[in-house]
């Protein structure tokens, strides 16, 4: 699945709780995303809002290498997670 945006960051106004195997993030309007596994890893890899955005291709390459996984499969997973986070108001596209 081709990336639909190039780079992304966490939004500033987000609440979160992160454990060793779980993460939940919530926008201030109450929309939440619960994450485990790869999704949690993606969230942890996202920079804070005041940091330079992470480039999706670099993130995919890093995760694929770390987990010895197929890059296309990882890319699809990452894009799905980022889209979910963006729809919930917890992540934003960067430049």
């Amino acid at each position: 699945m081709p990336p639909t945006f190039d780079a992304t960051v966490r939004r500033a106004a987000v609440l979160s709780r992160i454990t060793d195997d779980f993460a939940v993030v919530c926008a201030t309007d109450g929309r939440c995303v619960e994450m485990a596994g790869t999704a949690r890893t993606v969230w942890l890899a996202l920079p804070d809002h005041d940091q330079p955005p992470v480039h999706i291709a670099a993130l995919v390459a890093e995760l694929a290498a770390k987990h010895f996984a197929d890059r296309d499969v990882v890319a699809a997973d990452v894009m799905m997670v980022l889209s979910t986070l963006e729809e919930a108001g917890c992540a934003a596209r960067g430049t």
């Binding site: 500033a12 709780r17 779980f22 939940v24 919530c26 201030t28 809002h49």
Partner: protein, 343 residues
């Protein structure tokens, strides 16, 4: 399923797990029998200490079967989701209170999670407790009330003698505190003192004011002994704050309690906590509590609250703590509220 009680060894081990300092001496690991596991888990969930339970299990202090561990993690994750949803509400509330230029501070839940624990995942909560400065109370309550909520007698009693009001924002309820408790110890409090020094923490990029550690401890003590059936988490809060900030914080809490005339509340909360969590009784905090003189009148009110009496019974304990000249006003306000059938 065998029913457990709150003093079950496994629950005590969970509530004590990871306390700062050396008050909790080493205990042998506890093996939870399958027949007890479900009952213990229900207490863990209702007391919102699933994070401590998961951590105690990971540390080998508590042994459970893997299926039970998975359920504990599910409970914990659900509780964490509730926390962030509540914090989102708190951020929205903060904007409204700041728009009113009101003086306010968070206590208990989110404040303890962010300021008294190393990681807020260990302190879950299910509501918001906000203390409003007494001078801003009327203005804030008016702003958050709907016209249909116009209960003058109840509102007057709360302002003069009561604990607070539950208001609704975006369909969710939260507690605005005028005092830490209703009754004898509530009316002795001077809530403006709480606002002399405030702490803060950041939520979603916004600074959230919180009571400072001595007053967080004082509120935790009130909740532990006057809060109905507060559960293990309330006692954990007392121990966590008392042990986590050093002697100066505890001393400042004692000083405020002495000034207000509520040392009995702090002493009872510390003693109950130390005994329930089986902490070292030679610890200075416990020794200070044991040395505290508690009058017969204070003791009888503490005992009454332990039985979780009706609101009316709790409220009427204020009578004996008021000056003679203030008692007719109290009777008038209480009568107007109770005869009005609001409670």
């Amino acid at each position: 399923m065998q029913l457990a009680a709150r003093d079950h060894a496994a629950l005590v081990a969970v509530a004590r797990h990871g306390l700062p300092g050396d008050a909790a001496s080493a205990h042998a690991p506890i093996v939870l029998r399958p027949a007890e596991a479900e009952s213990v888990r229900l207490f863990v969930r209702s007391d919102r200490i699933a994070g401590l339970a998961a951590s105690a299990i990971a540390a080998g202090e508590l042994h459970v079967e893997s299926a039970e561990l998975a359920k504990v993690h599910d409970d914990w994750h659900a509780a964490l989701k509730a926390c962030v949803i509540i914090e989102a509400l708190l951020v929205r509330l903060a904007a409204r209170l700041d728009d009113l230029s009101a003086r306010w501070a968070v206590s208990k839940g989110a404040a303890i999670g962010h300021l008294d624990f190393d990681d807020p995942v260990m302190r879950c909560f299910g509501d918001i407790d906000v203390v409003i400065h007494p001078d801003d109370w009327d203005r804030v309550v008016r702003a958050f009330s709907r016209p249909a909520d116009h209960r003058r007698a109840t509102r007057r009693f709360t302002r003069l003698y009561g604990k607070g009001e539950t208001v609704s924002i975006d369909g969710m309820e939260l507690d605005l505190h005028r005092r830490f408790a209703v009754g004898r110890f509530g009316v002795r409090s001077v809530m403006g003192d709480c606002f002399e020094h405030l702490d803060s923490f950041v939520l979603a990029g916004r600074s959230i004011p919180a009571l400072d550690a001595p007053f967080r401890l004082l509120h935790a003590c009130f909740h532990a002994v006057l809060g109905g059936s507060p559960g293990l988490r309330a006692h954990r809060d007392v121990a966590q704050i008392a042990l986590g900030h050093g002697d100066q914080t505890v001393e400042r809490a004692w000083l405020a309690a002495d000034r207000w005339g509520v040392s009995a509340v702090v002493a009872r909360a510390v003693i109950d906590t130390w005994l329930l969590l089986q902490l070292r009784t030679d610890h200075p905090v416990m020794q200070r509590a044991l040395r505290t003189q508690i009058s017969d009148a204070d003791r009888s009110v503490l005992d009454l609250f332990r039985d979780n009496p009706s609101f009316r019974a709790q409220a009427m304990t204020a009578f004996g703590a008021l000056r003679w000249r203030d008692r007719p006003g109290f009777i008038a306000a209480a009568t107007a509220m109770f005869v009005g059938g609001r409670r």
